[in-house]
């Protein structure tokens, strides 16, 4: 017996009609819930809506227990549909799936997805890490004192270098490309010039990753608003339609990852492409979760933009930088734009802005299809989505 519906039913069924950011960079004196609320307000205003129009509320937080209840209370939203699933940084890309299902089934009409974090200026991260070690112990890793997340990604980088000859210079190319895009984005946090040599000479954190191979630590929030496609054109901004989405995870801890050079993006990407009826060659602009430089290389391989093991060579020579042939992380990414802990939200905001054609100096010409790829944990949760303009629906 086959299922009564398939993921294909959801292709083009819902659209993002509002996006917003708040407190990106530093937001001293702001609580996480307040940053979430400010981002939500901006996204709703972008859609010409009010908090009282929202009947589907979706949120994820690393720190706030019952985050969905907290933001509902803060904004005065009484949702009919609510979801607070946290799969780390991939969360907000992951939320596209249940939000689309809830809208398509008529469980609600307007979904707000929001996120905020004050990890740079709020309660110290070192303090937070101590509490997490108590509340969520990993007894088969913690005793060896991995400096996570960098150590886990360093182990993946070292293995990729060993197996495929990937070099530190090639990893550095990813950071340099991200910085090049950040320099075109007035909202990006780090915009000073950055060279491959600068990355290599930076402070080593966990070999082979220097501090410039690692994402920023900033504050910031973001939000987006989703509705069914039949009314998406009634909103002020051009809709970005959800064409495909797929999720996969195979492990939580790096010691349980089957092959450190192959991520579950191979599976999430295949599902998203199949649902959208698209492939890598159809993608005009990419937003890949670049928590560390190795991420971009792994995801370009696993999502079909180059062969396994060739990611290092692929990113060399500025291919993914401004002026290169494949625009990746046009906002500057987690490496140079913003990274408040769970960056997935910002992937979506940038992709929607690119599809609308409102990104100024960094705008990709004729951007019709955007690929968004979220990563959570330590290369653990992988969630891929394809968004498109009216023409791709």
């Amino acid at each position: 017996m086959s299922a009564p519906h398939s993921d294909r039913d959801l292709r083009g069924a819902v659209a993002i009609v509002g996006v917003g950011l708040a407190g990106c960079g530093e937001a001293p004196g702001w609580s996480e819930t307040e940053i979430m609320a400010a981002a939500a307000r901006h996204a709703l205003a972008d859609a010409g809506l009010n908090a009282q129009d929202v009947d589907g509320l979706v949120v994820a937080s690393v720190n706030i227990f019952l985050s969905g209840l907290a933001i509902g209370e803060q904004l005065g939203i009484h949702p009919k549909f609510t979801d607070s699933t946290c799969v780390g940084g991939s969360s907000f890309v992951g939320h596209l799936m249940p939000a689309a299902m809830a809208l398509q089934y008529g469980l609600c009409d307007v979904v707000l997805v929001t996120y905020g974090s004050n990890q740079r200026t709020g309660v110290g991260r070192a303090e937070g890490a101590k509490f997490k070690a108590i509340l969520d112990p990993q007894p088969f890793e913690h005793p060896y004192k991995p400096f996570n997340p960098p150590t886990s990604y360093a182990l993946a980088s070292a293995r990729h270098m060993h197996q495929y000859g990937t070099t530190r210079e090639q990893l550095a190319e990813v950071a340099v490309a991200a910085r090049g895009w950040a320099q075109l984005n007035p909202e990006a946090f780090s915009r000073d010039p950055l060279s491959v040599q600068d990355v290599l000479k930076s402070k080593m954190i966990s070999d082979p990753l220097t501090v410039r191979d690692c994402c920023l630590v900033t504050d910031g929030g973001g939000a987006f608003v989703m509705v069914r496609a039949d009314r998406a054109r009634n909103f002020p901004k051009k809709p970005a339609y959800l064409l495909g989405v797929g999720a996969a995870h195979w492990h939580r801890q790096i010691s349980s990852m089957p092959d450190l050079t192959v991520t579950a993006a191979t599976e999430s990407g295949a599902r998203a492409y199949a649902m959208a009826g698209l492939s890598a060659k159809d993608v005009d602009v990419l937003a890949l979760y670049d928590a560390f430089t190795i991420n971009t290389i792994l995801f370009l391989e696993d999502l079909g933009f180059c062969k396994k093991g060739e990611g290092g060579a692929f990113v060399s020579g500025g291919r993914i930088a401004p002026g290169g042939s494949l625009p990746v992380n046009t906002n500057g990414g987690g490496l140079s734009c913003v990274h408040p802990g769970m960056y997935g939200m910002f992937l979506i905001v940038e992709a929607v802005r690119q599809l609308r054609g409102e990104t100024g100096a960094r705008q990709v010409k004729n951007a019709e299809v955007a690929l968004v790829h979220g990563n959570g944990g330590v290369l653990s949760s992988q969630i891929t989505a394809l968004l498109g303009t009216e023409a791709t629906r």
Partner: protein
């Protein structure tokens, strides 16, 4: 129910000087870290077996730390001869000299509840 869950049972065995893995009675595969259900086949009958205590370095990194905080140290992933992979550290040599593919053997560091498996070159 057994007296303790698999994690505590493992630690209790280690505290008495015995490094043991689980082996699934269903699919015969070895399992580490210790679990309630075999992740390969779903069977919940897992036997405790002595680990051979040998393996190879699958990946390695040096965590950088200020000298006055104790200095740099190694963190590695070790593929055990029985199949499973574990996080550990390779000691008795400079962290720089730990290489992927290196043959290593286990020993127990610490004692009692603080017992921990670490590796040295084989």
């Amino acid at each position: 129910m057994a007296q303790s869950g698999p994690e505590k049972t493992y630690k209790e065995k280690l505290a008495t000087g015995s490094f043991e893995l689980q082996q699934c009675t269903g699919c015969k595969k070895h399992v580490f870290y210790p679990r309630v259900v075999c992740p390969h086949c779903g069977c919940d009958q897992l036997d405790w077996v002595k680990a051979k205590g040998v393996g190879t370095v699958y990946s390695t990194t040096i965590v950088r730390r200020k000298p006055d905080a104790g200095g740099d140290y190694n963190v590695a992933l070790i593929d055990l001869a029985e199949g499973p992979r574990m996080m550990s550290r390779v000691v008795d040599l400079s962290p720089d000299d730990v290489k992927i593919g290196m043959a290593v053997k286990s020993r127990i560091a610490g004692s009692g509840e603080e017992s921990l498996i670490e590796f040295i070159p084989a």
